[in-house]
Symmetry: C2
Subunit: 192 residues, 2 copies
């Protein structure tokens, strides 16, 4: 299955795409950072992030999008933009009928380094090792998005394979998948 | 000019549309509350709000969308959903090339009641009076969205008329309007 990790942000939004095969075998596909300029109006910045994410989802057609869960108690200067970027990632995925999973930064760090408090260098190094990259992904937003994808692939419910995907979905994700299947069976397109 | 006020929210998102003529003459056009169920997955809820807003902008073709400015220090339980809904309103407007203005709740209350600390009953009553409605708009989200539209029409820079609109735009809004005009002159559609 194809997993797209999103490290949400307004100035830099990381997008990392991997393939998870059998026996927890993970392969690197793509990584990029969507950027918007702090000099631009907020609506233009949000539109740039939305269009960038939507384009990635259209190009790589992930089976699931793994987005960092945002908490209200985070840095007040950036939390709103981060939450808005995460919301846009959810809408861009939902428009294409792609299920969404949310994972905390601690879960992502734990998944790739074994330490939920790992620093950025450690995350970058371990992401490179897990995905057999020649050098650590940079900037940290790129590495974090790949870590979120890896986190989803390696989460405790076990290795993911295409056929068994749905049994690992949350109740909400299952509900969504069922609704999309129902729409598809009626010939309704969701990617308008 | 047509002004659309948006009181952003995930459970209830108010949308109020008025026409601002010369001499600060304001007319009611439409009000509605877009709702999503807390029982639904977050991505489905956000998509419902986005689609609802985008549909309103497409139907009423406002000249400007006036959105409540969200602050990080607000209620932690709802601020992220509120910020995400505001972000979706900005993207839905930007996709159609509609300029966005942000106004604080205090500005909106001040504009309709003369008191930045007015309660919901006072706002509802004054919105009804200003727009010559037979009864106060309800729920409060509906009244608040109309208050945001009124606030934009009556802001201190003076009464707004179609022809003089641009001189009241912020530098960022001006930049956006210029960019849109440039695109339109090249035949590029932005409402894809």
């Amino acid at each position: 299955m194809i997993i797209c990790g999103v490290d949400p942000g307004l100035t830099r939004c990381g997008v990392g795409i991997i393939e998870a095969g059998s026996a927890r075998r993970l392969s690197f596909i793509h990584v990029d950072v969507i950027r918007s300029s702090p000099q631009d109006p907020q609506d233009i910045r949000l539109l740039a992030v939305f269009n960038g994410l939507s384009q990635k989802f259209g190009t790589f057609v992930p089976d699931v999008v793994s987005i960092e869960r945002v908490f209200a108690q985070e840095n007040r200067n950036t939390v709103l933009g981060t939450a808005q970027a995460a919301g846009l990632a959810m809408v861009a995925a939902a428009q294409r009928g792609i299920p969404v999973a949310l994972h905390t930064p601690t879960e992502a760090k734990m998944a790739v380094t074994g330490n939920g408090q790992a620093n950025k260098d450690q995350v970058q190094a371990m992401v490179a090792k897990i995905l057999s990259l020649n050098e650590p992904p940079s900037p940290p937003d790129a590495a974090d998005s790949l870590a979120l994808a890896i986190c989803h692939a390696l989460r405790p419910s076990g290795a993911i394979q295409g056929g068994e995907r749905e049994q690992h979905l949350t109740a909400a994700q299952k509900q969504w998948t069922d609704a999309v299947r129902s729409l598809k069976s009626k010939g309704v397109r969701r990617d308008m």
